[in-house]
Every structure is written in C-alpha cells, then in structure tokens.
C-alpha cells in the first residue's frame, strides 16, 4: 500500500509542476483581446444582500481594459498601465490620481493579464491545478496589506473566470468574468484606447 502511494506521488509530481506560474502567464497573455460580461458582488457584513453590479469588459493586450458598468448605473472606465479615466460627456476624464487607486488598477491589470512580476511584489503566489482548471492564491506580504486583505483567490481555465477578495474584517468581494478570446479589436474598441 505504501509503495503504491509512493509510486503515485512520484508520478504526480511532474504533473503538478507541469503547470507553473510562467505557463499561466503565457496562457493568459496569449489572446490579443478578451471580451465578455462580468458580475461583481460585494458581501458586506452589515448588509443582508450583496451589493451587485454587472456590465461588459474588453481587455486588449498591451493597451489596457475597458470596463463598462451597466447595472445599477451606467459608467465606462478605461484602465491603461499609467492611468484610469472615466467617460464623461466631455470625453475621457482622468480620475483624481490617488496612489492607492493607481496601485489597484495596476493590480487589476496584472491579475487579468497574468503579469506575474506586478503581483509578486506585494503578494506571495501559490498556484495549483492544471491549464484547464487552475487556482492562484495571493497572500499579502507587507504589514499594511496584511491588515487589509486576508487573501485573494483567482480561478480560471483558458482565461480568468473568477476573482475573490477576502478582507480581514470579514467583507468579501466576488467578481465573475465570462469572457471570449478574440484575435483583434473592433474599430470602436480600438478608438477608445486612443
């Protein structure tokens, strides 16, 4: 029996290593664009029901993210590596440059785009599963982040499917993404990044 377990373990080891962080990064960075819908739920201790919002998104490799919130209100955001802007009647208006917000957007892009170095700066990464069904667990490193987050759990297959953020005070936020890989951006989408 013990021999059998040992045999299984030796066989399983290369399998477990077969899908590592580099593979994940490559896999997530492969499509030129990803587009689809999202649902975000914030579970707050004080509320019986989660705060729910939904909309559509477009992630373009090397350009950034368009995030179109449709419910409960309509608002489109554009996240590029350097800045976040909001669509207003006057055009794209940069959001006030809060450092924390800029960091969060960088983090968000890093999560969706599989930019590993951006994540490793602040979190310890633990990957499990295989290319079709993987889980990435993020545990904060610094003293401040530890006071805020318990951890972040990202799950997915070919693309990121779900991001769950657990805060130390018991609140939880769940983001579900239902996206399709695309080879190219539509002209409208491309224009939005200009």
């Amino acid at each position: 029996m013990r021999t059998l377990i040992a045999l299984l373990l030796t066989l399983a080891a290369p399998l477990a290593q077969a899908f590592d962080l580099d593979d994940l990064a490559t896999q997530l960075a492969r499509p030129a664009a990803v587009a689809g819908s999202f649902v975000q739920q914030r579970y707050l201790r004080a509320l019986p029901q989660p705060l729910t919002s939904s909309g559509h998104f477009t992630l373009a490799r090397g350009l950034g993210l368009l995030w179109r919130l449709e419910k409960p209100l309509t608002q489109t955001y554009r996240i590029t590596p350097g800045a976040i802007a909001k669509e207003t009647p006057a055009g794209w208006t940069p959001l006030p440059g809060s450092d924390l917000a800029a960091r969060q957007s960088a983090l968000f892009l890093a999560v969706l785009g599989g930019d590993r170095s951006g994540l490793e700066r602040d979190f310890e990464l633990a990957l499990s599963g295989d290319a079709r069904h993987w889980q990435l667990r993020l545990t904060p490193r610094g003293a401040l982040l530890k006071q805020v987050f318990d951890g972040i759990l990202i799950q997915g297959g070919e693309l990121v499917e779900q991001v769950e953020i657990r805060e130390t005070q018991g609140d939880r936020s769940l983001l579900r993404l239902d996206g399709q890989a695309r080879d190219a951006l539509s002209a409208d989408q491309r224009a939005a990044f200009q």
Binding site: L44, L47, L51, Q75, Y77, I79, A101, P140, L144
Partner: protein
C-alpha cells in the same frame, strides 16, 4: 620693566590654567558659521518659531538609496536602517512605515465633520445631491480606490474625502507591500531613509561622525550596484569644520614659518625667536577671552584669529627694528624710547576693535574680542618679558634693507620736490573716486558658507527626486486660542491657494489643512442634517435606509474635534511641528510652512490685512541686517577715528594727529577703490578688513611720526610689520570660503597702501609742507 617680569609670568600661568580648564572637555569650538549671524530681531515667540523650523535642518539626515532593480531596495534599505539604528548618535532612524490601521480608522471616524475647507467640503455643503449621486456611482467603481474605513462605516464617503485630503499625492509614495517610501527618477528607484541625531548638530563631534557614516553607507550601496544621496545641515557643518581645520593649519603654518624666516633671516640670532612667544600669548589670550565671554569660540573666529599671528608679532618687530639705529642695542633703553609709541598704538587699536565689538553682529564682536585680548597679550609680553630675556642680546642686522629704505625715502623726496604732495593726493583721490564708483555691494549668505558643490548637487538631486523643497520663509500665526489660529490660517490659506494656482508656490502646510475650526465643523453638521431627504441615489443602488440613517445620526452626534486631538492621531504627525501651543502671553500660535517658492517677493503682501499673521523671513532679515551692520560699522569706525584723534591730539598736537588719523583712512579708501577696479565685491568681510587696515595704518603712522632712530629705520620697522601682517592676513586670500578670501584680498591691498602712505606721517620737512589734508 624687569620688575614686571614676575607678575607677568604669574599672569601667564593663570592664563594657561584657565585655558586648560576651558579645554578640559575637548575643544570648545563651534563649527556653525551661521551661529555668528545676528539673532533675529523678533520677539521670543518668533525666535521659538525660527528654532522650530531650523531644527530639522540641524538634526535630520535625509538619505535616498537608489537601485536600478526596485526589488532589491527593501533589503538595501533594511540593512542600512538597521545599521544606523544601532548607532548611539541617532535618536531615531526611519526606513519603513508600519501604519497603525486601527488608529488611523479611529482618527478618520472622529474627524469626519472636521474636514478642512476646500473644494470637497464646498461640494458637501453647496451641492449635496451631485455629491450623493457621485458617491453612489463610486460604490460600484472598481477603481475608485478603497479608503481605510470599511464601507459600512463610511457610506457617505466623508472618511475617504478626509483621508485623501490628509494624505495628498506626492512624489514620494508609500509602498504598501514593503512599507518603504519610494520614488522614481534618473533611471532608478529610490527608497527614502530619515535619521534624526540625538545631539544637536553643531556639537563638535556629530558632523564628522555623520559624514563618516554616510560615506560608509555609500560604499556599501555602491558595492551592491546602487547609489546613495544624502542631504543634511550636518553635512555642511562637517565640510565647514574640515575646511576650517585644514585652512587653519595651512595658513597658520605658512604664517608662522614666514615670520620665523623673516626674524632669523634679518637678525640671525636664535633668541629673536622669542618674538613668537608674543604670538603664542596673543592666541591664548584671545581664545580664552572668547570662551570666557561667549562660552565657545567659533571656527571662523579661530581662522581669522590664527592670522592674528603676524599682527601680534608687530610689537617685537618694531622693537627689534630699532637695532638698525646703530650703536649697541640695549633692550631696556630701546623699550623705554619706544614704549609711548607702542602704548599709543595699542590704545588706538583697542579703540578700533571696541567700535567693531559694538556692532550687533556676533561674528564681528567675537573677532574684535579675540583681537583685542590677543593684542593686549602680545603687548604685555613685549613690554614685560622680552626686554628681560633680550638683555645682552647683540644685534647686528644687515645694512642692505636700511639702505633700500633710505633710497626709497630719497626718491620720494625728489619726487615731491618736483610735483609737491597736492597733485599726488589729487591723483590718488581721482583713482579712488573712479574705483569706488565701480564697486558693488554683495551680501549674499552664500558667501558666508564656502559651498561645497558636491553637497549642493546631492541636496538638489534629493529635492528633485522627492519634490521636497522647503523654503526658509514661513508664516507665524497668533490667536487668542487654537480655534482662532485655525480661522486665521484658513484665511491665510485662501491667499496662498491663489499663489499655488498661479504657479508661484508649489504648496504649503497649515494646521488649518488638518482640521476645520469649530464654527466650520458646526456648519457641516448643520448641512448634513438636511441629508435625510436626499438619500435616493444611495437607496436606488441598494443601500438599506437603516444603515444610512444610522450613519447620519452618528455624524450629527459627533463631538467637535479640537487641534490637540487631531495632532495626536497618526495622521497628525506631519503637522505636529507646526503647533507652538499656548504662548506665554496667554494666546496660542501656529506656523504655516511653504514648499517650492519661486520668488520670495510674492510673500511680502500676503499677510497684509490679516490679523495675527506674520511673515518670518530670516534670510531677508539677514540681508537687511548685513546692510545695516555695514553702515553701522562705518559710523562706529568714524566715531573711533574721532576718539583716536582726540587721543593723538593730546599726544602729538593738532596737525600730526590729523595726519595720523587721515592717512590710514586714505589707505583704506584706496584699497576699497582697488576692489572696485578689480571687480571684487564689497562684503561685510572686506569692510571689516578695511576697518582693520585703518587700525594697522594708525600704528605705522604713529611709529613714523615718532621716528625713533630716524625715518628710514621707522619705515623699515613699518615694512617688517607690514610683511608680518601680510603673512598672516594676506594669506587668507587662499581660503576657499569666499568671505574669508575676500577679507584677505582687502587686507593685502590695504597693507600696501598703508606702507606707501606712511612716510607722510613723518615730522614735516621743510619742502613738504604743502600736504595739509593728510
């Protein structure tokens, strides 16, 4: 005079004992050149405020550790921070922040109504509906940025507004992952480390220690492929100290060597070296008097004082030069003959220094005290000790120098016979007029500090990378109590905001930016009372009414926040140095500090019409004081000349006294004109040099007038002491501190003219009577 030998030796031992006691804890030398600047003219509170603002400069060391690879910074900063924390020199070393999140949340909750005046607060009061709609949208904005408060404690977002206002974006960013303060620039990432010394910066040992630690840290960081930048007032102090000791030994050494060579070369007797005893006693007496009067002696005084060497050697030189008179050299007899002249020249010198000591400039006061005490020491040595030790000294100096002097005097007489003195005087005055006309004044404080370009470059790089550009100007705001101080700072802040938006000021920090005064807190509370009717936008996105109403009720019941509470919280830290607290007159006072000021002129009118607001501009005040001191020094000098004239009137009669007083003034004027011709500025220091020249010139003139041993012998005596003085003062031209080099140049010029003009002080000869003006 032999009788005086024993009491003098007793005095000398007492002086030695006093000096030994004064130096028992190491040298009582202050390296802070700025300490020699006059105190501000303001009251006790202004002085307290100035001290508060100067403290970081004197005690803080700012380090930037840079590396091309950002991820290596935490380890580098940690190692450096740990090493420095172990140094007993530092009171605190900060390289990593661990924010106190519970404390921060508590402060935000308690301060929500105290949101300082500004655009955000205006919106809450004037357009609450717009605000609440935006707030509802922000709840679903994944990028709005989370506040430190959990959402269920901050539905209305007041805590978030407050947090943004109290932690504005800056070039230096807190890195939540590593806890470091980071900035980017010049192709590197940089971590900020701050250290605060335990001792006051200008304790003599601290600056070199800090400099050594910085250099050691630099070597380590560079070895790891990084870069280190450091800025601190301590570094300037260290550089000042190093320069002072280097120049003191160089100039003092050259002066001593030169004087030795002069004495031995001319008199060829080892015993004449006893003249140096006068120099030693002079230095000892000077420094003892300074430490006695001021508690410490400044390095600058010591540099200028070390050059007193040559002047102190004047007395023995004059005395020895009488050996050219011919005949056997009898020390006692010569002393008896020269004593009146020596005493008079001491008295006139002391009068000159007394005038300088009366200026409100500690630098001049200290140098005057040092010089006066030194001269008395040298005089006493020459009069009491040297004659006894020079009994039976057989002096036979070479005749050549005397022959040269005689030839010079004959040449002068032949010239005068042809032209007369008046045309020469007119030519000199024309030269002076044209030179003085080209003269420009310079009272830049940078002259005062020999600026080390490396230090300045590093400090500028740090200012550029961190965006921290503190200015020396600040505002002092007084009020009846803390609340009135806040109201007055709010009013000042509105005017400063205008400067900021006009690009004339980068920013400012005021207590009124930390919290609003009580009346404004009440106003916001009042405005929030009407929000119960306006909750629709938040209700529409699913926030329960109970939660919103509970938070509104809590806000209504929030007590007024006072300044002490706000300062005590973790967010209050940067504001703490700005609060001076209760004043002795029963009021309260706080400061407003400024950042990145383009032109100090724009501040002049900002405080106008604002009660209790005062602009404190130490640099501007100093510039004014420099100019004032220059004028005062000239007036005092003229006054002293008057006193010297009276003294000489009693000794020599009207005509001679007038000449003896006017010749040195003319020499000083000519030297001044030369500065103009050379394009050199007139500074407080060159002015001081010229004042000194008038004192030295009076010396020469008196000795020429007395003409003991004949005009040629006296002129030679003048030349010898002139060379001696030049060896000491003139060599200061070599100094790298502009102020001191400027002093050396002025004195060299003055010495030349004093020597050239001295013969006119000789008793009148028949064909030379036309010089009436002196």
């Amino acid at each position: 005079m032999i009788r005086l030998q024993r009491p003098f030796l007793l005095f000398l031992f007492a002086l030695l004992a006093l000096s030994a006691w004064q130096w028992r804890h190491g040298p009582p030398v202050a390296a802070d050149l700025l300490a020699l600047l006059p105190q501000g003219a303001g009251d006790a509170l202004t002085l307290q405020a100035e001290a508060r603002m100067a403290e970081p400069l004197n005690r803080e060391v700012l380090l930037l550790v840079g590396h091309p690879q950002r991820e290596r910074l935490p380890a580098l900063a940690e190692r450096l921070g740990q090493a420095w924390s172990r140094e007993p020199l530092f009171e605190r070393v900060q390289w990593q922040l661990t924010p106190d999140l519970p404390g921060l949340r508590q402060q935000l909750l308690a301060s929500r109504l105290a949101l300082a005046p500004g655009q955000a607060r205006d919106e809450l009061i004037k357009t609450p509906d717009t605000y609440l709609q935006a707030r509802a949208a922000a709840l679903f904005d994944p990028f709005a940025g989370a506040g430190a408060l959990p959402l269920e404690q901050d539905w209305f977002g007041l805590g978030l507004l407050l947090q943004r206002q109290l932690t504005p974006a800056s070039k230096v960013q807190f890195d939540a992952g590593s806890g470091l303060l980071l900035t980017q620039g010049d192709g590197l990432s940089w971590a900020l480390i701050r250290a605060r010394t335990r001792a006051d910066a200008f304790d003599f040992d601290a600056p070199p220690q800090v400099e050594a630690l910085i250099e050691a840290a630099r070597r380590e960081v560079v070895a790891d492929g990084g870069q280190l930048l450091a800025a601190s007032g301590l570094r300037y102090a260290a550089a000042g100290q190093a320069t002072a000791s280097r120049e003191m030994s160089l100039i003092g050494g050259l002066a001593t060597f030169g004087t030795l060579a002069l004495l031995l070369g001319l008199f060829r007797r080892w015993r004449v070296l006893l003249s140096l005893l006068a120099v030693g006693v002079a230095l000892l007496a000077g420094s003892a008097a300074c430490v006695l009067l001021f508690g410490q002696i400044n390095a600058l005084t010591l540099i200028l004082g070390a050059s007193l060497t040559g002047v102190a050697a004047d007395y023995p030189l004059h005395y020895l030069s009488k050996s050219w008179k011919g005949g056997p050299w009898d020390a006692t007899a010569i002393l008896r003959e020269t004593l009146p002249g020596l005493s008079l020249s001491l008295a006139t010198n002391l009068l000159g220094y007394l005038a300088l000591a009366c200026t409100p400039f500690p630098a001049l006061t200290q140098v005057a005290v040092f010089s006066a005490a030194g001269l008395i020491g040298a005089y006493l040595t020459t009069v009491c000790l040297l004659p006894a030790w020079w009994q039976r000294l057989d002096l036979a100096p070479p005749a050549a120098p005397l022959r040269v002097m005689q030839r010079l005097l004959e040449l002068r007489l032949r010239l005068l016979a042809r032209t007369g003195s008046l045309p020469l005087l007119l030519a000199l005055l024309a030269f002076c007029g044209a030179g003085v006309w080209q003269l420009h004044l310079q009272n830049d404080l940078r002259l005062w500090l020999g600026q080390d370009p490396t230090l300045t470059r590093e400090a500028q790089a740090i200012a550029r990378l961190t965006g921290l550009q503190p200015t020396s100007q600040f505002f002092l705001v007084r009020g009846a109590d803390a609340d009135q101080v806040l109201e007055r700072q709010t009013a000042l802040g509105q005017r400063l905001d205008a400067l900021v938006s006009a690009g004339q000021l980068q920013g400012y920090r005021a207590l009124s930016g930390l919290l609003a005064p009580a009346a404004a807190q009440a106003e916001l509370r009042q405005a929030l009372a009407g929000w119960g009717e306006r909750l629709q936008p938040l209700l529409a996105v699913g926030i329960p009414a109970e939660a919103l109403e509970a938070e509104l009720k809590q806000l209504q019941q929030l007590p007024d926040l006072n300044l002490d509470q706000a300062l005590a919280g973790p967010l209050g830290e940067p504001w703490r140095p700005l609060w001076l607290g209760r004043t002795t007159e029963g009021g309260a006072a706080g400061l407003v500090s400024l950042q990145g000021l383009g032109n100090a002129q724009v501040l002049q009118t900002v405080a106008a019409g604002l009660p209790g607001v005062q602009l404190v501009d130490r640099l501007g005040e100093l510039r004014g004081l420099f100019v004032h001191t220059q004028r005062l020094a000239v007036e005092l000098k003229l006054l002293a000349s008057g006193a010297i004239f009276l003294l000489l009137l009693w000794a020599f009669g009207r005509r001679a006294a007038l000449r003896i007083v006017c010749l040195p003034l003319l020499a000083a004027l000519a030297a001044l004109a030369c500065l103009g011709w050379l394009g050199q500025p007139l500074t407080l220091f060159s002015l001081f040099a010229l004042l000194l020249i008038t004192a030295i010139g009076v010396d020469y003139a008196i000795l020429m007038h007395e003409a003991i041993g004949g005009a040629a012998v006296s002129l030679l005596g003048g030349l010898l002491s002139g060379v001696g003085s030049w060896l000491s003062f003139g060599l200061l031209m070599l100094s790298s501190t502009p102020a001191i080099a400027n002093f050396g140049l002025a004195i060299s010029l003055g010495l030349v003219f004093s020597f050239l003009l001295a013969p006119w002080a000789s008793p009148p000869v028949s064909h030379e009577k036309d010089l009436r003006h002196g």
